[in-house]
């Protein structure tokens, strides 16, 4: 067991190092949320004045939305990396060593989780610097980050599964561009659910992106609705477990197709 954990760490470390060595990629993933935060923050500043919006400051409202959106948009490209490792022969090289098969897959999951967590913390800090208020305190922020990590795990695992099955960059690009904005806008990331058309609100109820936002935002409130946090958080956790399981299955399918 401890051996398999050590191996998972080796695989994670390798991926983190690859990330750090590609500063351009790193800078873009960090700058993009900043742009969302300040672009949307200013563009939609006045929506809080709409009757029924509820929240005082739009930045307060926006931070969880941007955290979750960034978790989604950075994780959904995980499959590209996996595809590259397959094409380069790296995956096959690892598969002929005694490294545990689980460690190879879990390395991806842990690396993705750590990246999302770091990215989320940075957004939270930037929000604070921009004047956002987090009445829920540290507990609320931790739950927000966990919700982002779970959502990232779901989409990272799905992206890996797609990468291993279709083995085509174009498919991942197509699916991602198709999904990112609808998933984001069919949620309460930018707009209070009370002001959304009712059909949109119903769709949002089934949108995992919205679950993460609702869980995070509820936990960050001055008086958290723990019911919302638990139901959405539980659903995210269940889906994350299912997605990781599925990607492990496709990993076995990949091994059979070698």
């Amino acid at each position: 067991m401890s051996n398999s954990l050590t191996q998972t760490w080796f695989m994670t470390q390798r991926q983190l190092m690859a990330l750090v060595r590609q500063p351009a990629f790193l800078v873009i993933t960090l700058i993009q949320p900043v742009i969302w935060l300040f672009l949307f923050g200013n563009l939609f500043k006045k929506v809080t004045e709409l009757p029924g919006f509820g929240s005082g400051s739009y930045l307060d409202y926006l931070v969880p939305g941007v955290v979750v959106m960034s978790a989604l948009s950075s994780s959904m490209w995980a499959g590209m990396g996996t595809l590259e490792e397959i094409e380069r022969g790296t995956l096959n090289r690892f598969l002929t060593t005694p490294v545990s098969r689980g460690a190879i897959m879990n390395g991806n999951v842990v690396q993705n989780a750590l990246s999302v967590a770091l990215q989320s913390v940075i957004i939270v800090v930037l929000g604070k610097l921009g004047g956002a208020d987090y009445p829920g305190g540290a507990a609320g922020l931790i739950i927000l980050v966990v919700a982002g990590v779970l959502l990232g795990t779901i989409f990272g695992a799905m992206s890996n599964a797609i990468g291993m099955t279709v083995r085509q960059r174009e498919s991942i690009i197509g699916i991602n561009t198709f999904l990112l904005l609808p998933l984001t806008f069919l949620s309460s990331a930018f707009m209070a659910p009370e002001l959304m058309p009712s059909w949109m609100r119903h769709i949002a109820d089934f949108n995992p992106v919205n679950w993460a936002i609702v869980a995070g935002r509820s936990a960050m409130a001055a008086d958290p609705d723990w019911g919302d946090v638990l139901t959405r958080g539980g659903a995210l956790l269940a889906l994350a477990v299912a997605a990781v399981w599925l990607s492990t299955r496709t990993f076995r399918t990949y091994q059979r197709s070698v």
Binding site: R88, T90, N92, T96, P98, S257
Partner: protein, 329 residues
Amino acid sequence: MPGNDALAVDARELIKTYSGGVTALDGMSVQVAAGTVFGLLGPNGAGKSTTVKILTTLARPDSGAASVAGHDVAKKPGKVRRAIGVVSQKSGADPVATGRENLILQGRLYGLRGPELQRRADELLERFDLTDAGKRPVKGYSGGMQRRLDVALGLVHRPEVLFLDEPTTGLDPEARQAMWDEIARLAGDEGLTILLTTHYLEEADKLAERIAIVDRGRVVVEGTPDALKGELRGDAVHVELRDPVGEVDARLLTTALTEFAGVRDAAIDGRRLSARADDGAAAVPQVLAVLEREGAKVAAVTVARPSLDDVYLRYAGRRFPDVDAGGAR
């Protein structure tokens, strides 16, 4: 079981069909004695890589059995993985990591740790002339450097059996020669068994103690390079024809040549005619006479001592495909 221990690789009757109905292996059997260099020779698509994938636990055969270093690949893949080093066709090294970092990670996956691993990495870098390059990211390496690192990666845990899948494909002649020297040196290592696949006749001839010629998913002939060439008694007579010959005419021509020109094993593949004769030079006038009588125009004639190319032609029934046309040469 001394009899079994002597075989580093023992594959019997492997069959593998990929989805889509492509038969990659069709009764492949290979036995490699421990401590020897064995070459699987054949064109692309003959089944060499699939064989290596099965022997290195990457793929499973539909039927048949194989053991490597005394362990069954299907039942004890973990033990096989500990005993083997694999240098596959694709590099697989991490391009953003340095050569040394790649070696360290590879060693860790085999359970090596600490100063012992550091020493091993430095030792391998030095051996493969990568000491300076080892500090730089792999993406800046030349093809030859990258290939040498690949071999070093395969050796980090001192395997019993090393698989080299097309080790010199895509290398320029100079780097290829350097790799050949390196493999020849490895072969001298005590106890190391090497299974090498190649589509270069010259490479197999030079490096392998025994060769199996693979065609359409099975071994068509096996033996030492000299024995294989020796089986072809006499010289090879090659005739380049002006015009390609159809199948029916080819049959008539080869019959006529065998009957009247005193040659054996005559075969025609398009414009290339090959035959064997005890005394090649003496047979040439008769061959030319027969061809003239049959109306086949001749562009060039050569007489040569037998090569592996001729062995391939003899057993696979066609000329060795010119896989490398315009490539590395």
